[in-house]
Structures are given as structure tokens and as C-alpha cells.
């Protein structure tokens, strides 16, 4: 049984991600983001939070274009995240990376990435280095199911399994690669069989159940840390909103959307904690108030920060 602090933290972190992304959408509509590229993960929070809660501080992760949740769940500095999105010099990437390129090397976050699947190679390399150094670290590669039809995924899965690298492949299967349904993108839908093809365990989990995700991730990370090699986790989730701004999701029917939205991972989890007597509505209200305050502070910090200087475009081309 999980301790109370862990249970509450999972709830708090999911809420923080949800409310932050809602704020990001608001800032986007106000024209305050420095870049037009922005993909939110509303509906998918339990995967990021469940997996990151199972990681140790020394571990690494790589993230995707839909990566706000991963860096927040990893303990990223919300001030620097919002500052980055607003194009401020105080942002994680000095304001030049934006929503798709968040990174915090001090947290072992090796970057979110604009190329679907592109970062899976980097994750595999980090795990290779851990294996060569025997440093006890595990790398988590988050990706969407769209990345599983990219060549790099197959090369990475093959190499990682061949060399028993300490890596966990976490597929956040939100059912749509932009507009293309998962069922129209691949013939084999069983993660167990997909994993088997590479010689690694493939585990499917309800991605709307944060505790279930956490349990699967704990096992996979332990498996990797013991030198047993990679695991493929298929977390079944759903992107509540469009792929990006301006996507009204004409490819999904409303009945399906409503059915999926009824399985909101945050509400499901809160109801469970109410039932188990871990939280009361008053606790949740207090949590909401705290989240609101933390986000307001981050936005204030970002808005008061200097913009990225226009001269800075010439910086950091080479190390």
C-alpha cells in the first residue's frame, strides 16, 4: 500500500499539469506565447505522473512534443517552463526552445523533442552509457503511439533489448497520431506481442489509472535497473483536446469523446481517494487553491522576466 504523501502528491501533480496546461491555452489565446507551436496533454496526465513517480532522482527521461506533463511530473521549475513558453531569457532554453523543446539536465530530463520518435534514439544512448558505466541509472523514453510506426523506434527497441539496456519504453497511446487512429496505423495492437517481437516484456495498462501506471512503471524500472533489460509499456489514454490549436478533431465522433472524457484520470483518482478516505473535498479545494497560486506565481515571474534578446540568435550554435 502506498503511503499517504505519495497518494496525495500524485493527485497534486496531475492537477498542477491540468491547470498549467489550461493556463497555457489561455496565454496562447491571448497571443502571449512566443511560438505558435503548442500541444497540450489534457486527459493524459496520469501516464506522466504515474511513471515519473516511479523514477529515482538519478534517472533520465526523454519527452515528446506533448511534453509539458513530463517535465512538471519530473519536478521541473514551473517558472522556467512558463518563461520558456513566453519567450523569456529566464526560460529553460533562454526562450528559444518553446513548448516542444523543454529540458532540465539537472533533473535528468534530456529534452522534449519536435520530431516524433526522434528522441527515442537519445534515450537509448543514455541507457547505453549507463550500461557501459554500470551507473545504476534507468532511462524512460516517453512517446506516443505515432512514434511506434517510425523506424527509429524499431531500431531502438531492437538494440535496447539485444544489449539489455536499462530503459523503459513508455507508449502513451492516446489513440490518434494527429488524425490517424491507432487501428489504422498498425496491424498488431497487443503491446504484449509487440514487446515479444523485440524480446522484451510488453505490458498494457489503463493510462487513466495513475496508480496502475505507477505499479507497472515501478516494476519495469526495477527490471531495467537489475540488468534485465527494457520493457515496453502501453498506457491506454486519450487526448481530450485536438492535436494542437485549431484542430477541432473532425476525425473523432463526439460520442467517443464524451465516453473517454468521462474517464478523466484526475476525477477518477480523486473519487477513489474520497472513497478510501485519503482526501476530502475540502482537501481538494485547498489543493486547487495552491495550484492556482503556484501557476500565478510562475506566470508573474515569466511576465516580469526580460524577453530573449534578439541578438541571442547567434549564441550557442556551437558549444
Amino acid at each position: 500500500m502506498e503511503d499517504r504523501d505519495t497518494l496525495i502528491n500524485l493527485c497534486y501533480t496531475m492537477l498542477l499539469i491540468r491547470r498549467t496546461e489550461e493556463k497555457i491555452l489561455e496565454l496562447l489565446l491571448q497571443g502571449k506565447l512566443a511560438s505558435s507551436m503548442c500541444h497540450v496533454s489534457i486527459g493524459q496526465e496520469a501516464v506522466a505522473v504515474g511513471v515519473c513517480s516511479a523514477m529515482q532522482p538519478q534517472d533520465y527521461l526523454t519527452s515528446t512534443h506533448r511534453g509539458h506533463g513530463h517535465i512538471i511530473a519530473r519536478g521541473g521549475d514551473l517558472r522556467r517552463i512558463i518563461a520558456e513558453l513566453l519567450g523569456r531569457a529566464t526560460g529553460y532554453c533562454k526562450g528559444r526552445g518553446g513548448s516542444m523543446h523543454l529540458v532540465d539536465i539537472n533533473l535528468g530530463h534530456l529534452g522534449s523533442n519536435g520530431i516524433v520518435g526522434g528522441h527515442i534514439g537519445i534515450a537509448t544512448g543514455a541507457a547505453l552509457w549507463s550500461s557501459l558505466q554500470n551507473d545504476g541509472r534507468v532511462t524512460v523514453a516517453f512517446f506516443g503511439e505515432g512514434a511506434m510506426t517510425e523506424g527509429i523506434f524499431h531500431e531502438a527497441a531492437n538494440m535496447a533489448s539485444l544489449w539489455r539496456l536499462p530503459i523503459v519504453f513508455v507508449c502513451e497511446n492516446n489513440q490518434y497520431a494527429m488524425s490517424l487512429p491507432w487501428t489504422h496505423a498498425t496491424a498488431e495492437h497487443s503491446f504484449a506481442r509487440k514487446g515479444e517481437a523485440y524480446g522484451m516484456p510488453g505490458v498494457e495498462v489503463d493510462g487513466q489509472d495513475v496508480l496502475a501506471v505507477r505499479q507497472v512503471a515501478l516494476q519495469a524500472i526495477e527490471h531495467a535497473r537489475c540488468g534485465e533489460g527494457p520493457t515496453l509499456i502501453g498506457a491506454q489514454t486519450y487526448r481530450f483536446l485536438g492535436h494542437s490549436r485549431g484542430d477541432p478533431s473532425p476525425y473523432r465522433d463526439k460520442e467517443e469523446e464524451n465516453r473517454q472524457r468521462a474517464r478523466d484520470p484526475i476525477r477518477l483518482y480523486q473519487e477513489r481517494l474520497f472513497r478510501e478516505g485519503v482526501l476530502t473535498q475540502a482537501d481538494v479545494d485547498a489543493m486547487e487553491a495552491k495550484v492556482t497560486e503556484v501557476i500565478a506565481d510562475a506566470v508573474r515571474f515569466a511576465e516580469e522576466s526580460p524577453p530573449a534578446s534578439l541578438d541571442s540568435v547567434l549564441e550557442d550554435v556551437f558549444a
Binding site: 526560460g91 532554453c93 523543446h101 532540465d104 520530431i115 544512448g125 549507463s130 557501459l132 531502438a156 556551437f318
Partner: protein, 334 residues
Amino acid sequence: MRKIRYREALREALREEMQRDPRVFVIGEDIGRYGGAYAVTQGLLQEFGPKRIIDAPMSEAIIVGAALGAAIVGGRPVAEIMYIDFATLAMDQIVNQAAKLHCMFGGQLMAPLVIRTQQGTGRGAGPQHSQSLEAWFAHVPGLKVVMPATSFDAKGLLKSAIRDNNPVMFIEHKGLYALEGEVPEDEYTIPLGVADIKRPGNNVTLIAYSYMVHLALAAAQELSQIGISAEVVDLRTLVPLDMDALVTSVTKTRRAVVVHEASLFGGFGAEIAASLQEKLFNILAAPVRRLGGLHVPLPAHSQLEKQVVPNGAQIGQVVKEMVSTEVVARHEIA
């Protein structure tokens, strides 16, 4: 001074850097047990073991990707891509990932990664094993591009590339591996971004790199027989580009010919010619000329292949067109 082959010089550089720095490792196809398709890594598996000379499956994208990931978290990898043609299979990792990481992430990450590969004609290897693709990589901000022509340069530049904190495309030439050249026993490095005058001269500057340096040198030797003094400048690295050295040389000679094996159309010679003309228009005695490959897929037929790439006679011919004996005489008097 002792003479060793280009491939031996490269091997010495790898061995010395691996001895110097335990973070250096090599990953690629057939580099361990087989010793490398062009025998550069021969013997290194026995010396350093399978954790530092890593035979990878035939997966170019993940070879580069894994090297890159290791580089980010503390390794100093050298990834070998057997033929530059196969780098096309790893272009996302090279172009979108390795080249961008440092800048895109605000300087937080570094990618100290060397991608060793080889290119060029001479073996009748055909359209998918003989291309010269350096201009693609030079065009991508964030990549360094190194193209050694001699054993001495190969060793000194590879050592510098391994010590560099940026992704480096280290492009060898398949026609040079057996070429012998002087290499000192003592350790040395050659900084990236410094061109080398391979032969001094006064009437024309022949600008080349990689295999074409040797054709330029042969052409310069022939031209000297008819009183034309050609200076041969070997770029050695395309990025960083030693433009100062070119300006200095061409200011002296007032004529320049750029020679490369890659397709002339859209080739790196265009960049050099344009830059020289922008900087030196008023002192040039003739337009900067370019020699490069025909804009065709390379034939596998060895004799046809020779038709596609520049040869020494063409270099001599172009120079003669630019430098009439009268002009030479006037220039020398002035």
C-alpha cells in the same frame, strides 16, 4: 620521418584518444570483429574490448542516436557510418537532433559526438556507395565538417574532432586509405578550422579538400613545367571554414579554382566562389572557377565513373584558360 597509411593514422588517433580518455568509445557496423569495412578499427577490439569497440546491428539511425544519447550524458562516442550514403538513414539523428541540441536547449546540453564516415569514387561502388555529400552537412548549422586529405591531417584532425564538444562529421575518402604520408611519432593535434597551404604559388590558387587535394597537387606540378605557379590550399575543414586563409591566398594570386568531387550543382564550391567574389571582386584577375562532378547518379562502371568526377587534366586546362603566359608575366613584373 616515418610514413604510415591514412587508415593507420586514423587508427592511431582512435587508439591514442581511447587511451587518453576512458569516455571515448566507438560504435558502428563491422568495426570490431571484422575490423571495419575499410580496416580503420582493425585490432582495436582486441585492445579495448567489446564495451569500447561496439559492433552494432545494421541500424544507422540508432547507431547515431545511441552515440548522441551517450554523448549528452557524459560519453565521447565515435560513431562509424560505413558509407556516407548510409548516413541518409540517420539524417534525423544528425540534422534534427545532434546539430540542434545545444542551441535549441539554450546551451544546457552538449553533443560531443564524432560521426566517422567515408565517401567518394574510385572503386566503382556505384550510385549508392560513392556519393560526395559534404555540402548537405555543411549546410546545417551546428555541425562541423572535417575532410582530411593526408595521413598527417587525418590523425591530427580526428584527435581534435574527438576532443571537440560539438557534433563533427568526419568525412574520409575511400580512395585515400592506403595512401602513405609522413606522420610524426610524437603526439600532435590539428585545430579544426585551419586551412593548409599544401604547395605555395603565385599565379593561381587551387582550393580543394579530401581526395581532390592530390589531383590539385599533381596539376600544380604539371603547371609549373609551363611556368605557372599554382598555390594549393587544402581546406581540411569545411565547417569551420578558414575564409581568411582563402582571402590571403587569392589576394596574392588574384585567381582561384575550387575543385571538388561532389556534384558541381549546389556544391560547396559555389559557397567559396561566391564568398571570394564578394570579398575580392576588385582584385580578381578572372572569375573564380569551379570544377566538380557532373550532376548525375554515379555509375558503377569504373570507366564511366571516371567521366563523372574532375580529373587533373581538367584542373590544368581551367588554369591555363585563366592564366595566359602574358598575364603571368605582367603579374610577376608587378
